[in-house]
């Protein structure tokens, strides 16, 4: 029963990692941009959630109503104002610029919010649990996992059943020809980044309810997101969810064996999968 519990908890944790990863996956899929500042944007979203909840007294989940559009606007402006200029045949400029952005965001957060760990107060949601079979499942992890499924389903649906998704795929396939069809790739990229940071906002707020956070933790979230994307296979959002779950389970199993092994075992699982399936478990080039 103990081990079953470990695996179930790991699976639910994977939902959070999938949310970290979904934005990364979307951005890479549409514009081949590897966003090094993604983890810091998650932390930024958590701090925005903190500001909204402490200023208005709203429940953190209700604060999403403000945080998601705010992050969306930040995403669009960031893409149009800065990141579009870095895109081209060379992969290096966007890497460098987003790395710089990561440093800027971290230091900005440090200035505004100090280095003290913060946490959002979600009341009883933090500790509530359900007894299922012999297991005690936290309501928050269950909710996180459900949100991850809904978000990924929503992104998938947007990609394959809307004009916007068609435009995303067309621009991703061939930017020049998409321009010839009247699609302004700069705008499309802006919308993609807005969508990605909207998802990031959800991930950041759920992170901030679950654990305490400080300005320095973005890098770790970025790594978990990356690993989930790569394990699942680039450009496949359901694969990203599977990747998150595998990473989560590996971490909780590692922690069960020895609490110090939690992070390490996640990385080992990632390396192992990369060694046997270099393209991830479910690769699909066309996102």
């Amino acid at each position: 029963m103990d081990w079953l519990n470990v695996i179930v908890q790991g699976t639910l944790l994977g939902g959070l990692y999938a949310l970290f990863a979904a934005g990364l996956s979307l951005i890479f899929g549409v514009m081949r941009l590897v966003n090094i500042s993604h983890g810091d944007l998650i932390v930024l979203a958590a701090y925005l959630g903190l500001t909204v909840t402490s200023a208005t007294g709203l429940h953190p989940l209700l604060a999403l109503v403000l945080v998601v559009p705010t992050m969306g606007v930040i995403g669009y402006v960031l893409q149009r104002g800065l990141l579009n200029q870095t895109l081209g045949d060379d992969l290096l400029p966007p890497l460098l610029v987003t790395f710089g952005l990561s440093v800027i965001i971290q230091n900005g957060l440090l200035e505004v919010y100090t280095a003290d760990p913060q946490k959002m107060d979600a009341g009883t949601l933090e500790t509530a649990s359900l007894a299922v079979g012999g297991l005690n499942l936290g309501v928050l992890p269950l909710l996180t996992f459900a949100v991850a499924i809904v978000v990924i389903w929503g992104l998938q649906w947007t990609f394959y059943h809307t004009a916007l998704g068609r435009a995303f795929r067309a621009v991703s396939d061939n930017q020049d020809i998409a321009q010839l069809m009247g699609l302004n790739r700069r705008h499309i990229f802006g919308v993609a980044m807005a969508l990605a940071l909207g998802v990031t906002a959800i991930a950041g707020v759920l992170l901030g309810i679950r654990t305490s956070f400080d300005p320095s933790i973005g890098g770790g979230r970025l790594i978990f997101g990356f690993e989930a994307v790569i394990i699942g296979g680039l450009g496949n959002l359901w694969g990203t969810l599977a990747g998150g779950v595998i990473l989560g389970v590996a971490q909780t199993v590692g922690a069960k064996v020895d609490p110090g092994w939690q992070i390490l075992s996640g990385h080992l699982a990632f390396l192992f999968i990369l060694a046997i399936r270099p393209n991830g478990l479910f690769p699909r080039i066309s996102a």
Binding site: R166, I177, Q179, L180, M181, N184
Partner: protein, 235 residues
């Protein structure tokens, strides 16, 4: 005298330090079909990329409907009703046949072309509408590429090497379909290596050689000698 729809004056085009077009002058009238011929590397595709805005141009070099479009982005030009069937088809591989056609309609221009009329022109596309575009044969892919350009309901349509890499029988089918496509008052520029095909469907012809216009004439009076001189540069 019909109004000119596209006027090109002194167009130069560069790829980095390499100059691909030198002072090209060209004019297309409303409803006219123009052929552009020339050997490999003569600058035909560069000319198409300049007109459609994929290459940036100097100011005042290209006018469309009397409006300077030289500095506009490709998507802004597309919305004004200028569309292209690119060389090598260049369909979107992750889109189905139907989605490829729908992308063409994204500019939102009104006109005779819709999914139904494209399916009527190329019935095979309706049968294959849910397939990945790259699973089609070359000829069928070319039909998708033509349909995709038509869906924008353009005033001027550019065909870049539509017979390249296709079997002769398919090329014949596509050229047989062209008059039905270009009717409805649409103007067209046909870029083609197959000179006799190009002459048969066009009213006027331009020949490019090493980035310059080496010949300009009406398609039914231009002589074979003139063409080979303009084409190969042999005196």
């Amino acid at each position: 005298m019909p109004e000119p729809i596209l006027q090109i004056q002194g167009l130069n085009a560069h790829y980095g330090d390499f100059q691909a077009l030198y002072g090209v002058d060209m004019e297309v009238s409303e409803g006219e079909v123009l052929a552009v011929i020339g050997s490999n590397g003569a600058g035909k595709t560069t000319l198409m990329r300049s007109i459609t805005g994929l290459l940036s141009n100097g100011p005042g070099q290209i006018k469309y409907h009397d409006k300077d479009i030289s500095r506009l982005r490709a998507d802004e030009i597309a919305i004004q009703g200028l569309s292209m069937v690119p060389e090598g088809r260049q369909l979107f591989p992750s889109l189905s046949v139907r989605e490829n056609l729908m992308i063409g309609a994204q500019v939102g221009r009104k006109g005779p072309w819709s999914l139904e009329s494209v399916y009527k022109l190329f019935p095979i596309l309706e049968e294959r509408k849910d397939q990945q575009s790259t699973s089609l044969s070359g000829g069928q892919q070319q039909m998708v590429a033509i349909g995709r350009a038509l869906m924008a309901n353009p005033d001027l349509i550019l065909f870049d090497e539509i017979s390249l890499g296709l079997a002769p029988i398919i090329i014949k089918d596509i050229y047989d379909a062209l008059p039905g496509i270009i009717g409805e008052g649409m103007s067209a520029i046909i870029v083609e290596q197959d000179i006799s095909k190009a002459l048969s469907v066009s009213s006027r012809v331009y020949c490019l050689q090493e980035g310059r216009v080496s010949l300009e004439g009406t398609s039914d009076t231009v002589s074979r000698e003139d063409i080979s001189r303009a084409y190969f540069g042999i005196e």
